[in-house]
């Protein structure tokens, strides 16, 4: 029962990543693309969680924490660079 649910959820997540990829393509401004990438990283988080549920292991949860933090750092850095050019002023 859970196995089928996890595969459905994985499929759904892949779909949502595809949607974000669409925004990545179409996105008129760079900020839209930045938003798209940020959302995809969050989806990846979810994917990892579902994967670890499926494999019944908690070893990926650490990578999820790392990814959460680093996606944030990258997004902030890019957002700041987009406007002010320099990041550490």
């Amino acid at each position: 029962m859970l196995a089928t649910v996890t595969s459905i959820v994985m499929f759904g997540l892949a779909l949502s990543m595809a949607l974000c990829a669409y925004r990545l393509f179409r996105g008129p401004a760079v900020v839209d693309r930045l938003l798209a990438v940020d959302t995809i990283s969050t989806n990846l988080l979810a994917f990892l969680i579902v994967l670890s549920i499926d494999q019944r292991t908690d070893v990926y949860l650490d990578s999820v924490i790392v990814l959460a933090l680093l996606a944030f750092v990258a997004t902030v850095a890019i957002a700041k660079a987009l406007v002010w050019g320099r990041i550490i002023d």
């Binding site: 196995a3 595969s7 994985m10 499929f11 997540l13 892949a14 779909l15 990543m17 595809a18 990829a21 990545l24 393509f25 996105g27 760079v30 693309r33 930045l34 798209a36 990438v37 995809i40 990283s41 990846l44 994917f47 990892l48 994967l51 499926d54 494999q55 070893v59 990926y60 650490d62 990578s63 790392v66 990814l67 680093l70 996606a71 750092v73 990258a74 850095a77 890019i78 660079a81 987009l82 050019g85 320099r86 990041i87």
Partner: protein
């Protein structure tokens, strides 16, 4: 007691390491510390090497890299004892002299550190029992001499002199290493004592001439023999204490020490006789002639050193016991009077403000004591009785006489041209006499020159070392038996390998040697008188292009061709680099695929069993693959930078998912981290890149690049496919098995990284550090120019 032999070279080395940071010792404290360490090493050396006095050598061995035959073996016999005393004795005097000579605001810690490093290296050379170890210390002397010559690094002459000496002695070092390897390879051992014992067998080896030739090149470059002598005069740009220590008493004698060390092995060969004697004689004459030409005091002394070294080399070349005795005795004497002369030159320069003959002259009124000291030292060099120089010159004459040449390999030469060697000897000492007179009279007598500074007697401490050396010359002259004889006896017997009883005395009765001395001295005086006027005038015609100029031409030629080559393939455009790299990949993959047995051609095994993969719905994976392809194409197609960076970031994160799919948690973590740090780095760098990127690539180039990329993609996947088809048993089984008990760690990946393959990781983190420092330097350099 045995291992304390190791301490001899190591003690100054440790001090050399500590000194650069001991700045606050000040210009009084530093020489004191160095002097103390040098004297401690001297006392220790004497105590440890006591048995060497009575003739049997002291050895100690610590295995360092036994597989390659390189061990820390130390050998102290009579010969090393002589050199130990020389290096440490003259070293102490030079340190005392430098204490007064160098002004306090010089970079003294660096000076004394390099000086001590040099002393340690020389001690290592003279006490090394293993040829490879000797080469290690040999190279260290070249490096420390480079540091010392280039001490006043703002002075271009010092810099070029330092480069020249490093390149020449460096090449010599390489030749020596090659020779030693050939010799060691053929003989099977690098241990000097073992080699000496099998002298006859080695002389018969087919590789012997090659090995000996290369070793001689090494010795000749270090001891400034004829073709390689030009670096010594240009090394005079070094501070005087360095010239007095390195370029007169110790470093240039390293080559001669090597000749003495290998004397028992090679002395009885034809090649040795003709090469060593020939080059020695030629150097003696060229050096003598050179000394007459130059108007700079230190250059004159440099050329005189070259000529004296030529004399000693010639003596070792003759191959007879008397010649070896004369050579060893002359090493001692030469060190004493030459160091004294160099220090006096330093004092004259310090007091009168110049070393140029044109401005010197008539100094005897201002520096009376110096006149006497320099007089004694110069007289000893010229070989005027009753000083020590005269006695070793006498032995030199006797050694060249045909009667004494009987048992030498060159006896045939002695028979056919009996007069050749004596004439060369006399000619040599005539030149020596001439330049000694030029030295003494040019500086101290005659009309007073226009000195830039008003000279007055130097401080007592500065003159003390010269006085000490001068008294040594006189003392050895009058009481040779007491001071010199025991030391020279043990040293020569160590060189010759048999017990030698020298009878050093001033008076050997009326014999041809005395006659030759008289001729030499008078001819020298006549030569000086004939050319008296030229002391101050410009140089007489030179003997065609000197070796120095040839050296410069060679170096500049090499640099220019290197620059031309680099500019051709470093076009600075990223595209060419990528094309070359990927092109090479293409060639390799293509060639390999062509030769390797194609799958299905029966050669390769079927695809290995399915990878242990987690059950993931096909659909999800397909869409993820699509996303990755989409993101990758965004970077390829999009001209704007931002979308490409974002897409790159995305691709990295998605690849991490693959690792998760392949159940590799470590990799997921690492990939995510590396991915985001790289994205930040790219964003950082972006600010510095030019705003506008080229808008449209020419169509043809697009097609070409596209085709090329396709080809590379295909070949890369072909190679991977081939690898997958190749059956291989992976090493993981070993690691997994031993990971827990062997290293107490459950995580095999980390255990491998840090424990089993720790050495690789050490290499990797070193490379990382170098990269970081490189970036730091480049960025700061860049900032300075903008």
């Amino acid at each position: 007691m045995r291992l304390s032999l190791l301490v001899i070279p190591i003690l100054p080395m440790i001090l050399a390491g500590l000194l650069p940071s001991a700045g606050r010792l000040g210009h009084r404290g530093l020489p004191l510390v160095c002097g103390a360490v040098a004297s401690v090493t001297l006392l220790l050396a004497l105590r440890v090497a006591a048995p060497a006095f009575s003739g049997h050598a002291v050895t100690a061995t610590i295995p360092w890299a036994p597989a390659t035959g390189l061990n820390l073996t130390f050998l102290v016999d009579g010969l090393s004892l002589l050199f130990l005393l020389l290096i440490l004795g003259i070293g102490l005097l030079v340190i005392a002299f430098a204490r007064f000579y160098l002004s306090p605001d010089e970079n003294l810690p660096r000076f004394y550190a390099s000086l001590m490093l040099f002393m340690a290296a020389m001690l290592g050379v003279v006490t090394a029992g293993n040829l490879l170890l000797l080469v290690v210390f040999w190279e260290l002397t070249s490096i420390s001499s480079f540091l010392l010559i280039g001490f006043w690094d703002r002075d271009p002459a010092a810099r070029s002199g330092a480069y020249q000496s490093l390149i020449v002695t460096g090449i010599g070092g390489l030749a020596l290493l090659a020779g030693v390897l050939v010799l060691g390879g053929a003989a099977g051992t690098f241990d000097i004592v073992a080699l000496a014992a099998r002298g006859a067998e080695i002389r018969a080896l087919p590789e012997m001439p090659v090995a000996l030739g290369l070793i001689l090149v090494g010795a000749f470059t270090k001891s400034a023999q004829v073709p390689f002598h030009f670096w010594l005069p240009s090394a005079m740009a070094a501070p005087t204490p360095v010239s007095a220590y390195l370029h007169s008493a110790t470093m240039v004698k390293a080559g001669i020490f090597l000749l003495a060390r290998l004397w028992t092995i090679f002395a009885a060969t034809e090649l040795w006789f003709y090469a060593v004697t020939g080059f020695g004689a030629a150097t003696m004459l060229v050096g003598g002639w050179g000394a007459l030409r130059h108007t700079d005091l230190k250059r004159l002394l440099a050329y005189s050193t070259i000529s004296q070294l030529g004399l000693i080399t010639m003596l070792y070349g003759l191959g007879t016991r008397e010649a070896a005795l004369a050579a060893t005795f002359h090493i001692l004497n030469h060190a004493s009077f030459k160091a004294a002369l160099f220090m006096s030159a330093g004092i004259i320069d310090h007091e009168a403000g110049t070393r140029d003959f044109a401005q010197l002259g008539g100094l005897r009124r201002h520096l009376p004591r110096m006149t006497i000291l320099v007089g004694i030292a110069a007289a000893s060099m010229a070989g005027i009785p009753p000083l020590n120089g005269f006695m070793s010159k006498e032995l030199f004459y006797e050694a060249t006489l045909p009667a004494h040449m009987a048992d030498s390999i060159g006896a045939s030469l002695g028979a056919s041209w009996p007069w050749l060697l004596p004439v060369v000897a006399v000619l040599g000492s005539t030149l020596t006499m001439a330049y000694c007179l030029r030295l003494v009279i040019g500086t101290f007598f005659g009309p007073e020159g226009p000195y830039p500074q008003h000279p007055h007697e130097p401080p007592a401490g500065m003159r003390a070392p010269v006085e000490l050396l001068a008294t040594f010359c006189v003392a050895v002259g009058f009481l040779p038996g007491l001071i010199a004889e025991p030391l020279i006896a043990t040293a020569t017997s160590a060189v010759v390998g048999a017990h030698v009883h020298p009878h050093l005395a001033l008076w050997h009765g009326l014999n041809p040697a005395l006659l030759m001395t008289l001729i030499g001295l008078s001819a020298g005086a006549a030569l000086y008188a004939a050319r008296r006027g030229s002391a101050r005038r410009a140089l007489p015609p030179r003997l065609g292009r000197t070796a120095g100029e040839l050296y410069d031409v060679a170096i500049h030629g090499m640099m220019d061709s290197a620059r031309a080559l680099t500019s051709r393939y470093q076009t600075g455009r990223l595209r060419t680099y990528i094309l070359t790299i990927l092109g090479l990949l293409l060639v390799l993959a293509g060639w390999h695929a062509w030769h390797a047995s194609w799958p299905g051609a029966g050669g390769a095994a079927p695809l290995p069993a399915r990878m242990p993969m987690t059950a993931v719905p096909r659909g999800a994976m397909v869409i993820t693959v699509l996303t990755i392809a989409g993101a990758a194409s965004v970077c390829a197609l999009y001209r704007h930078r931002w979308p490409s960076i974002l897409a790159l970031g995305l691709v990295g994160a998605l690849v991490a998912i693959y690792f998760a799919w392949m159940s590799a948690p470590d990799l997921v973590l690492t990939q995510l981290l590396v991915e985001s740090v790289t994205t930040i780095l790219v964003v950082l760098v972006l600010y510095f890149l030019p705003r506008k990127t080229r808008d449209r690539e020419p169509r043809l180039r697009l097609i070409l690049d596209g085709a090329f990329a396709l080809l590379v993609g295909v070949s890369a996947s072909a190679v991977i496919y081939a690898i997958l088809r190749r059956p291989f048993e992976s090493i993981s089984s070993y690691h997994i098995a031993n990971s827990l008990e062997g290293a107490g760690g459950g995580n095999v990946v980390n255990v491998i990284l840090v424990d089993f393959r720790g050495y690789d990781t050490l290499g990797e983190i070193t490379v990382l550090s170098i990269a970081a420092i490189g970036v730091l330097a480049l960025v700061q350099a860049g900032r300075r120019t903008t």
